[in-house]
Amino acid sequence: MRARPDGGGRVAPATGAASEAMLFDLHFPARADRLKLARAGVMAAARMCGFAEPAARDIVLAVDEACQNVIRHAYGDEAAGDMALTLVRRGGSLVVRLRDFAPTVDRTTIAPRPLGRIVPGGLGTHFIRAIMDRVAYLEPPDGCGNLLEMAKVIPKQENASDELTG
């Protein structure tokens, strides 16, 4: 796993977007045994932004589930690839970008299962949408792979510190 604290994220903010304060940028193998490391980073970043612990734990779950989707569905049975996880603070929100380099996923097939159906699986997408305030697939800069962007608004009280604003 390579940390890139220099702000050299692989996915630049869209032109005209609010300025960003880089929290961290990790490039790591899309493997289940690496997710613990990513979770630790996300927890630290969320707490640094001022999220209370329960909210930070929720964000960790959402990001973990998104990473799992990359491992299980984007790469699937293919030889494992890499993914890049970038967290920034932008305009009063914590923004998470998750990039993979797998074949482009048909986004119309990505949907949570109805919660009334009690079957194993299909909960990850529901968790992501329930926890995060905004979830969108963006076009990767070079058209390769998949790019998911999620944002969570930092509540006013928690947003009071401007230490990390860009």
């Binding site: 734990r57 799992q68 009690i118 990850g124 529901h126 968790f127």
Partner: protein, 110 residues
């Protein structure tokens, strides 16, 4: 992750601990289904689970369904705050029988 199993008359108790995540969920799934195969009511203690995700929850659902198919009981015991939050997000807190502790589970007959 460690998962001690104890057998009592009429029931088997599985104590999960640590992180039940994508890395460890396959092992938890095998363990739970193995315990279902013992043909007893089953209780899963989640008091020492620090983290559980959708893959861990899927293992619990599969075990619940397997016990139903066998006609045995299934319950969760002493669910940690993190695990309860995830169950609530999935609205499964109304699906699983959840007990405050082992004594309460035993009183309820699970």
């Amino acid at each position: 992750m460690n998962s001690p199993v104890s057998e009592e008359p009429g029931r088997v108790v599985v104590r999960l601990a640590g992180e039940v995540d994508l890395e460890h969920a396959p092992g938890v799934r095998r363990l739970l289904l193995d315990c279902v195969g013992r043909g007893k009511d089953m209780l899963v203690d989640l008091s020492r689970v620090d983290y559980i995700d959708s893959s861990g929850i899927a293992s619990l659902i599969e075990a619940l369904q397997a016990t139903k198919a066998r006609g045995t009981g299934f319950g969760l015991v002493a669910v940690s705050a993190q695990a309860m939050r995830v169950l609530e997000l999935a609205r499964l807190d109304r699906v699983f029988a959840i007990h405050a502790d082992l004594a309460a589970a035993c009183r309820s007959g699970t």
